[in-house]
């Protein structure tokens, strides 16, 4: 098994708080990998450190056998990134954004133009191509962001929450493109907390909790005979049963409360 991504003891702290406490992430080449974990588990921090956007306090990250922090030129040519928060050049149009992104990587203009038009077509963004990114909806931003990440044909693609806030139609477009991408032998790693989606798309799962990898491997192995959702809750420690105390007024059975004089205040 060749590894597309391999980290050893990746570590990051912010002041007192340890965000990532020694992550050993392994993703085999050609896999569609999901990085799952609750909010605050350190998924974004880990992805930022692997893609060279955030300096780790310790450990190392290797992509395609190349150290991210020692050989950045080689690594950056091989990775495509869609970071969290949809941070894009807002005052460029979708088409201009793709052109900029391609030419920044020294791809000839003619080639960039051809790839841009094809990507805009596949992403169903032709009509909005000349509108400014600042006016795009969330789904359109995710799609143009993914197009920008794919434009230089990377071998490993890192996506942070690519499906968050995306409508089903756009999500379908995104998954189609990504599945075609991995079918050709390239690697996709995306973070998410939508377990159904991860279960449907991924063949490799890494589960993060509180800055650690708590489980990692092929989907079937991590899941066992449970659903991925149940497996995930078991691994990260599901919610403590709140019990039946409190919230008695909530729902149709609490209708008596409507007549109580305390509700409503002065009128």
């Amino acid at each position: 098994m060749t590894e597309a991504v391999h980290t050893q003891g990746l570590f990051k702290r912010y002041g007192q708080q340890i965000a990532v406490a020694g992550v050993d992430l392994v993703v085999p080449a050609g896999s569609f990998a999901g990085l799952v974990g609750p909010n605050g588990a350190g998924k974004t921090t880990t992805l930022s450190m692997i893609t060279g956007l955030l300096r780790p306090d310790g450990g190392r990250a290797v992509i395609d056998g190349l150290d991210v922090w020692r050989d950045p030129v080689q690594v950056k040519a091989r990775v495509g990134v869609l970071p969290e928060g949809l941070r894009l050049f807002e005052r460029l149009s979708g088409r201009e954004l793709l052109h900029y992104n391609g030419r920044l990587r020294a791809i000839p203009m003619a080639e960039v133009e051809q790839r841009t038009e094809e990507l805009l077509g596949v992403m169903d963004l032709r009509e909005a191509a000349d509108k400014l990114v600042v006016d795009y909806s969330t789904g359109m931003r995710k799609k143009i962001g993914l197009a920008a990440a794919l434009l230089h044909n990377p071998s490993v693609l890192f996506l942070d929450e690519p499906f968050e806030g995306v409508d089903p139609v756009s999500a379908n477009t995104l998954t189609d493109v990504l599945q075609r991408f991995t079918a050709s032998g390239s690697t996709v790693i995306f973070s998410s907390h939508v377990m159904d989606l991860v279960e449907r798309l991924c063949d490799w799962v890494s589960v993060m909790s509180a800055g650690h990898i708590v489980a990692q491997g092929p989907l079937a192995q991590v899941r066992g005979d449970r659903t991925l959702n149940q497996a995930f809750l078991d691994l990260v420690g599901g919610p403590k049963r709140a019990g039946d105390a409190g919230l008695t007024w909530l729902g149709a059975n609490g209708a008596a409360a409507e007549e109580s004089p305390s509700a409503g205040g002065e009128r």
């Binding site: 893609t51 060279g52 956007l53 955030l54 300096r55 950045p72 030129v73 080689q74 690594v75 950056k76 040519a77 990775v79 990134v81 970071p83 928060g85 941070r87 894009l88 050049f89 807002e90 005052r91 460029l92 149009s93 088409r95 201009e96 052109h99 900029y100 992104n101 030419r103 920044l104 990587r105 020294a106 000839p108 203009m109 000349d130 509108k131 400014l132 600042v134 006016d135 909806s137 920008a148 002065e266």
Partner: protein, 521 residues
């Protein structure tokens, strides 16, 4: 009444909540508080000192002051604060409140705060300064409160009526640029006075004569009059306040049910590719193309550039005006180099406006050469606009000062200074980067908590540019005009070495630069 109290408490709670935890904000609030107290005390004193002036003059001055407060209340909240939580009616639209009560509540909320209190205190100062006799005091008290209410409801009416537009991107863009014009507007009286156009006393009397019939003019006059005419004026004023209040309620009701139209947007023109005709295809052309688009499209660029030109223009106008023409080379060199310095300062935080999108460059460039290309592209784009602009400014100032022979040496020197500026600015861009917020306001150009960094960056750039430019500017200033021939090569050399050094330093600390310009605003 309980509604008013509730909203006033909500406003106080919001102010307190904003301060929690963040030292910079606490310091900022203390500073605001001290400033408001100082302004209130000084304003009260000045207004009460009107008693020493002769009555007619005192009334005229009060009319001017009241009108200024009124205009100030109408436009300053729009420019400086945008919409804060208590003022945006859309946030309250889900609560079961009738429009009338909402209006009372929002009036109470806007009356709560340090600046409203300061305004009220200064206005009361007019009572001390103008009122005569019991009648004057009684009418005066009414006038003071009506003037205060007038300021508030006018301000509310304008923010509410524009709130739809302010929430859209285009509206905010337009407002950002409009802020500059407002600053210029406030500078206008100063300029006119400096140029000695007309007799100040006559100017005041004639202006007050016109403003006397505006609502704030009525209020000021009513205090001074204190008789039946004053009472009648109060009546008119009260009707006006109620009318504006009514309009405000209408606007509020309208704003609550009107959809946000900000997602409708027009397409941009496809680029004509002029840059590509002159530059070889590649990263450099990409950066130049993108930067030129940003300078045209991003209001923050427009504001910065426009402000530099205006400041330079105002200073050039004042300097050359005072000397009375025929001042020679130094009078042209000064403003020209100042203009170059101001324009170069626009580049002293080159990555700040990219902000959170800078990652796209970071993941594309893996080595120092990439960053060097990036900086070169930014400099080229800025220079494409700044150099012709500086030439134009130099020509204008030279002709204005009556020394056309100064054009060539002054323009060359200014270009040299601009080159030096870019070299220094690329260093501050990588050493002292900070986030430029999407929405500029009048007080800071940096994200919360980075004000110090922004100040240090601009200050270091200014010192650096001035220091490195002195060997160039001083000889020319003292009449050795031929030195200006060396200006351009000197500027280019500083730009080249500054950019190289900045790329070396910047590449090593790129993640830190990225973090510094990606702060939440």
């Amino acid at each position: 009444m309980s509604t008013a109290l509730l909203f006033a408490r909500l406003k106080l709670r919001l102010v307190a909540g904003n301060l929690r935890g963040d030292l910079a904000r606490k310091l900022g609030f203390v500073f605001t508080l001290l400033a408001a107290i100082a302004v209130a005390a000084l304003g009260f004193l000045l207004m009460s000192l009107l008693r020493l002036a002769e009555p007619a003059m005192a009334t005229d001055l009060a009319i001017l002051a009241f009108t200024m407060f009124w205009i100030g209340w109408a436009i300053v909240p729009l420019l400086a604060f945008g919409l804060d939580d208590t003022l945006d009616p859309a946030r309250l639209s889900l609560f079961p409140l009738r429009t009338g009560r909402l209006a009372v509540g929002m009036f109470a909320a806007s009356a709560t705060g340090v600046w409203p209190a300061a305004t009220l205190i200064i206005t009361i100062g007019a009572l001390v300064g103008l009122a005569s006799g019991i009648g004057g005091v009684l009418v005066g008290i009414g006038a003071v409160f009506l003037q205060f209410a007038l300021c508030l409801v006018t301000s509310r009416l304008i923010t509410t009526a524009l709130s739809g537009a302010l929430r859209s991107r285009r509206g905010r863009d337009a407002l950002a640029v409009a802020a500059i014009f407002a600053v210029l507007l406030f500078q206008l009286p100063n300029l006119i006075a400096n140029r000695g156009l007309g007799d100040p006393v006559a100017l005041i009397t004639s202006t007050a004569g016109v403003l006397r019939w505006t609502p704030p003019g009525l209020a000021a006059h009513a205090i001074a009059d204190g008789g039946l005419i004053g009472l009648a004026e109060l009546l008119v004023l009260a009707v006006l306040v109620v009318l504006i209040g009514w309009l405000w309620i209408k606007a509020l009701a309208h704003a609550l049910v009107t959809a946000d139209a900000s997602t409708q947007s027009a397409s941009v023109r496809r680029s004509s590719g002029i840059v590509d005709r002159f530059l070889p295809d590649g990263p450099l052309a990409a950066v130049v193309t993108k930067e030129l688009k940003y300078i045209r499209r991003d209001p923050r660029f427009r504001v910065g550039w426009f402000a530099s030109i205006v400041v330079t223009g105002v200073i050039a106008f004042s300097i050359t005006g005072q000397s009375g023409g025929g001042g020679g080379l130094p009078l042209v060199i000064g403003p020209a180099c100042l203009g170059a310095l101001m324009l170069a300062l626009q580049s002293c935080n080159a990555f700040g406006i990219d902000g959170r999108s800078l990652w796209m460059n970071t993941v594309a460039f893996g080595d120092e050469r990439g960053l060097r290309t990036d900086l070169a592209g930014r400099h080229l784009a800025a220079a494409l606009i700044a150099l012709p602009l500086l030439a134009l400014m130099t020509v204008a100032v030279s002709l204005f000062a009556g020394t056309p022979s100064a054009i060539l040496p002054a323009a060359l020197t200014a270009w040299g200074v601009y080159g030096v500026g870019l070299g220094v600015a690329s260093m501050t861009s990588v050493i002292l980067p900070y986030t430029v917020p999407d929405r500029l306001n009048a007080f800071t150009g940096a994200a919360p908590g980075q004000g110090g960094q922004a100040f240090a960056g601009s200050f270091a750039a200014m010192i650096g540019i001035a220091g490195l430019s002195l060997p160039l500017v001083l000889p020319v200033l003292f009449g050795v005009a031929w030195v200006s021939v060396a200006a351009l090569p000197y500027g280019l050399a500083v730009e080249y070495f500054g950019r190289r050094l900045a790329a070396t330093v910047g590449h090593a600390r790129m993640p830190e630069v990225l973090a510094a310009v990606s702060r939440p605003t």
